[in-house]
Amino acid sequence: MKIKKSGQEKDLWTNHHVDFFQKKKAQEEKISKRNLSSLSRKSGQEEMVGFVLIMILVMVILLIVLGFVLTGKKGIEEKDYQLDSFLESALQITTNCSMNGKILTLKDMVPQCVTKQKCENTNEDICKRMETIFRGAINQSFNPGKESYVKSFSLNIYKIDGEQKETVTSISEGSQTKTSRVGWSEFIKGKNYQIYLKNYY
């Protein structure tokens, strides 16, 4: 059974629906405006947070790079004029070893050590005697030790023959550290010889 609505009823229904939709639209507009304004209030804060994050990231990267640079750095080795003077003075030490009627100095012993000679008067191996004298001189001069300023040392003597470098003797005592000072001396006794003394601190 069809119910016919009168004209008035139709108008009321239409108006009711229009009001409803208008109210809904107004509500939606109100919500979107509120969202927009809160967003614009928070955009400054977001930018600041982003900036701080970038700063923290850059600092962390810098710290990592700095860590690699500092730990990867090789130990410090400086030239020491005092060690040069020590070597030049020590090489002139007169020993109790003689060869061909001549009393040898420490410098004279180096080429004799290369040819594995023995002292004529004491029959002692020249290389061993030379090492003993060097050790004694270094210990008396620098007093190396764990509780000392100089922790350890290493002494190397080389014979230079053209481009070839031959080790004549190598003396060391104690454990090496990263910080060291080095002195060297060169002399000619038939061939070229180089002597290096490194003190570790």
Partner: protein, 174 residues
Amino acid sequence: MVIRNKFGQLKIQQMAFMLIAVTLFFVLVGMFVLVYKFSDIKNQANTLREQNAMLLATKIANSPEFSCGMALGSGKTNCVDADKIIALKNNIKKYEDFWGSNTNVVVKTIYPKEKEKECTFANYPDCNVINLLGKNISGTYSNFVSVCKKENENGIIYDKCELGRIIVSYENQF
């Protein structure tokens, strides 16, 4: 309208804060780098000062009153003639004004190691410390030298050299 007017000011404020923060950051980094660089300069300055002190002691050792010369073989560097020094010690009053009243030189034998014994004209060469002016030293400059003298063994005269140290103290530079 009011909100739109203040939007530009907000942006300018943000930019200003960012610029201040970036500047502060780079200033901190720059300060850190400078501190690191200057610490190395201090070490270099100390090393140079040490080297200069040793060079001054070497200068004295190479002066005619102390150096070895031809008598103990030419070509010897860092060498002092102990015989010359003990003779100088005997005539040191003539040299009082030469080096200044606060100057003193001590030559000590380090190796071979023996008990320290100060040299006089009477006990030389059975001694190992030659104190030129007989004073105590303070504020010293020292370096390694070779202490050489003429020795007589079984009628054979030879040059005997030992490892030593020359210690110098003085008020004014030479």
